[in-house]
């Protein structure tokens, strides 16, 4: 298979190797791929809630959809299931056999596999690819439309998609974007068939993936059977998959401990819970991973007092990130700015850079600086800053908000907590009807292009704080098209520093996940991501 190795790829590879040199983060007894996989068996998989949008990955932004839907689909390209760190160099072909950057990284051509069929027997062609991504980017002549389209912005740089023949598809970009390939490799980027209306994926699934949907018993389970016509020979190894929906967390882990389930679900195991599980079942394999989700503080920059950067900076300074990790996350998180820090991610700021930023240094000094900044902004003991902190009425959000309120109280800021139901949360932040909030943000791919435009870009619907800075926007554009990986990394670091200095959306920490699986499950290697590794075609059972 032809795998182009561009400059970005070379730096990513170097970084990945560097990560390997410092040691993969706390990988405890990760199952090794044995020599002779066995075929057969059904893997019982944990699913924490009902599929919110069925199998409609393109209409969803939650792992509760992606995790149980991925085995049905294929992407053009995907991250190598056996490599824990995801980067350009771990991308392998799925529906695309090979690909090539052309026109100075302004065109990306994919050469597709032949003789691939959809689960209903219809042939897969380049038209399906064009159809899918025209629909997602909402092209003027797109033949179909998604009801909800959370990732339209990922494809803002796509000018046109062409399918010159049934086995070639070309993405024409407005400007070079080397990391575009990573977006296509995300679990959020499956290819849909032209002959199935997108709305039908809410209730059924027709893909080209290794498993075919057998049954979705609402609120109970999702069952797959092996796709005998899967385009990779001798895959999948398993006869089937069963995603068992168990809403109660204690029951889920009891089921795992009792062997009713073989594997947990990503972003479900806390450090404490999995430690207990490990104590009860010493042979249970627990892997510490970065699911690429951070806790952050929202401050509405369009409303007083947070339209004043001094006040935002004061708030950011007042909150001790390391205390947050210790107290709220009980050590199950790491400090970092707007991208995951090494060794958990490739692009995040390192410890020495973080130490210079507000809120990451010495708490006493930072709190004194906070008081000075607040005084400059006209707030003090006689005239305290009073704010309302909104958050979702769920334990993890409330714990986080309560911690922030306590930190603010120590610098004389009087903050009150407003809990809103989940149904109200996004309308509230989308309409900017809040002053301050505690929030979690998950990223589909560890790449600046999957984060900056969406969460910090002017006018983006998910830029909940409405932070908008022309200089930052220019740098975001610049890093996106930078072909020199070293220069890109330097730019990305500078952007993160600027975002922290402006308290655009202060990051509290990057949560770690503790993924549990029985040792008889082989070849299921959790990645530093929650979304891109559950195709299951390489998984087998050694019972």
């Amino acid at each position: 298979m032809f795998r182009p190795l561009g400059v970005t790829a070379r730096v990513a590879l170097a970084l990945a190797l560097a990560l390997a040199a410092v040691g993969a983060p706390a990988l405890s007894q990760t199952p090794r791929a044995p020599l002779a996989p066995k075929s057969g068996g059904v893997l019982n998989v944990s699913q924490r809630e009902e599929l919110p949008q069925g199998f409609s990955i393109h209409e969803s932004a939650t792992n509760s959809t992606v995790w149980p839907s991925l085995p049905c689909f294929s992407n053009l390209v995907f991250f190598d299931s056996q490599k824990m760190v995801e980067s350009v160099d771990t991308i392998v072909g799925e529906l695309a056999e090979k690909w090539s950057w052309q026109d100075n990284h302004r065109s990306l051509a994919f050469f597709l596999r032949r003789n691939v069929n959809w689960h209903d027997g219809r042939p897969f062609t380049a038209k399906d690819v064009k159809y899918t991504f025209d629909m997602v980017r909402e092209a003027k002549d797109a033949p179909a439309r998604l009801r909800i389209n959370p990732r339209k912005d990922w494809y803002a740089n796509v000018e046109a998609i062409e399918a010159p023949d049934p086995y070639t598809v070309v993405f024409r970009l407005r400007r070079p974007q080397p990391s575009f390939l990573l977006l296509l490799a995300s679990g959020y980027s499956p290819v849909y068939p032209t002959h199935v209306p997108p709305g039908e994926f809410r209730t059924r699934c027709v893909g080209t993936g290794p498993f075919r949907l057998k049954e979705w018993r609402k609120g109970e389970y999702v069952e797959y059977v092996r796709n005998p016509n899967y385009f990779i020979k001798e895959r999948p190894y398993l006869d089937g998959l069963k995603y068992v929906i168990i809403a109660e967390r204690s029951t889920r882990f009891a089921a795992l401990q009792a062997g009713r389930l073989d594997v947990a679900m990503p972003i479900d195991g806390s450090r404490t819970l999995t430690a207990q599980l490990k104590a009860a079942v010493p042979k249970m394999v627990i892997t510490e991973i970065n699911p690429n989700a951070n806790a952050n503080i929202l401050m509405n920059t369009k409303r007083p007092p947070f339209d004043n950067v001094k006040v935002r900076r004061a708030i950011s300074l007042a909150i001790d990130r390391r205390a947050y990790v210790k107290a709220v996350e009980q050590g199950g998180a790491v400090v970092g700015a707007s991208l995951a820090p090494p060794p958990w991610g490739i692009w995040g700021l390192r410890e020495q850079e973080l130490a210079r930023l507000p809120g990451y240094g010495r708490p006493e000094r930072d709190k004194a600086l906070t008081r000075a900044l607040l005084a400059e902004a006209g707030y003090g003991p006689g005239h305290p800053l009073r704010v309302e902190m909104a958050t979702r009425a769920m334990a993890i959000f409330v714990d986080f908000a309560s911690f922030v309120i306590d930190e603010l109280r120590q610098v004389g800021v009087e903050a009150t907590l407003r809990q809103v139901e989940t149904a109200q949360w996004h309308p509230l932040v989308t309409r900017r009807e809040y002053q301050m909030g505690s929030n979690f943000t998950g990223l589909g791919v560890d790449d600046p292009d999957a984060n900056f435009p969406e969460n910090y870009g002017c006018g983006s619907p998910r830029n909940y704080t409405d932070y908008c800075d022309e200089q930052v926007m220019r740098m975001i554009e610049q890093q996106s098209q930078e072909l020199d990986p070293k220069k890109r990394l330097a730019l990305v670091w500078r952007i993160q520093e600027k975002l922290e200095e402006d308290a655009a959306r202060p990051t509290m920490g990057w949560r770690l996940d503790y993924f549990a699986q029985w040792p008889h499950v082989k070849n299921l290697i959790p990645h530093h991501s929650a979304y891109n590794w559950s195709r299951m075609q390489d998984v087998w059972l050694d019972r």
């Binding site: 069925g54 969803s60 609120g219 809403a247 029951t251 139901e421 996004h426 998910r462």
Partner: protein
């Protein structure tokens, strides 16, 4: 009643479209309007109400917003699960509560009475879901086993099916039995002081006949009332037990439907629960007539 059910649901903030967008992490007002139009929740409330009534009368019961499937198709498999669990729990509650109450009354102020009252107090104090969780965690910790976490129909495997229901049935039944035991004890104690009981003893009738036929027979009306109320409560009140034991019943699904503002599902499930409450009350009233000749011949 239908107006109350319909109206209450609309009082909750937000609707399914907010939730859908929430799970996608943003809201697009134009798209939101389109989806609301598609689901018919942009219409005036009274129009929506009339549509729902029309759906009920036609037997369709509307369409689930979340699943885009007929509501009846979603609700139908849930009902037998909850009814079976409620019946098993009630049977366990009666089997434990009534004899314990009678024994406690007959052996009033003995060590046995104190012991049984203590057990009933414990039953009333322990939420059934907590007891359920303790059962599950104890099983997994001691023998590394728990019942299957997916529902096994009776036709598929009877023993496993029974185990799946007996454990939650015990957790729920124990709590209900405590209430039944206390009611039984107090009413039996009251009846035991009646003249006709004294007469029965004086006539030399056996203790079994006096207590179980004369005393309990006449003390049974309030007990039946409590059993009826408990059963009706269980139909909608098993939320946490169904969640803990992962049983696909009405109550668990109802909570999910409320969280998703899936109005057609919620309205029909609440309607179903209301009908069960009415029917169980009716059954209790009919039982009064069968148990008590005074009621039977009063008309």
């Amino acid at each position: 009643m239908s107006i109350v059910i319909f109206g209450l649901m609309r009082l909750a903030p937000g609707n399914i479209v907010d939730i859908l967008f929430g799970s996608a992490g943003y809201v697009n007002e134009a798209d939101k309007q389109l989806i609301m139009q598609e689901l018919g929740i942009d219409r005036p409330i009274w129009v929506q109400y009339l549509h729902w009534l029309r759906d009920i009368v036609s037997g369709e019961m509307g369409k689930s917003y979340r699943y885009d499937l007929p509501a009846w198709q979603i609700i139908k498999p849930l009902i037998p699960v909850t009814v079976e669990l409620a019946v098993i729990s009630t049977v366990i509650a009666v089997c434990l509560g009534v004899p314990a109450g009678v024994i406690s009354a007959v052996r009033q102020d003995t060590a046995l009475d104190y012991g049984l009252r203590l057990l009933s107090l414990a039953g009333l104090s322990m939420p059934s879901f907590w007891l359920g969780m303790v059962i599950i965690l104890t099983l997994v910790a001691w023998i590394g086993w728990i019942p299957p976490v997916t529902y096994v129909p009776v036709t598929e495997n009877l023993p496993i099916h029974l185990v799946q229901f007996l454990l939650p049935g015990l957790a729920v039944g124990y709590r209900s039995s405590a209430l039944i035991m206390r009611i039984t004890r107090s009413t039996v104690l009251e009846v035991l002081r009646e003249d006709y009981i004294r007469t029965a003893w004086a006539k030399g009738q056996s203790g079994r006949v006096v207590i179980w036929r004369h005393a309990l027979g006449n003390a049974f009306l309030p007990i039946v009332t409590v059993i009826g109320i408990e059963f009706a409560f269980l139909i909608g009140g098993l939320v946490v037990t169904e969640t803990v034991f992962n049983l696909p019943g009405v109550a668990r699904f109802l909570v999910q439907a409320i969280l998703w503002r899936d109005y057609p599902i919620v309205q029909n499930l609440v309607m179903f629960i209301a009908i069960v409450v009415i029917l169980s009350n009716l059954l209790v009233d009919l039982l009064y007539g069968w148990l008590d000749p005074r009621v039977r011949f009063a008309g």
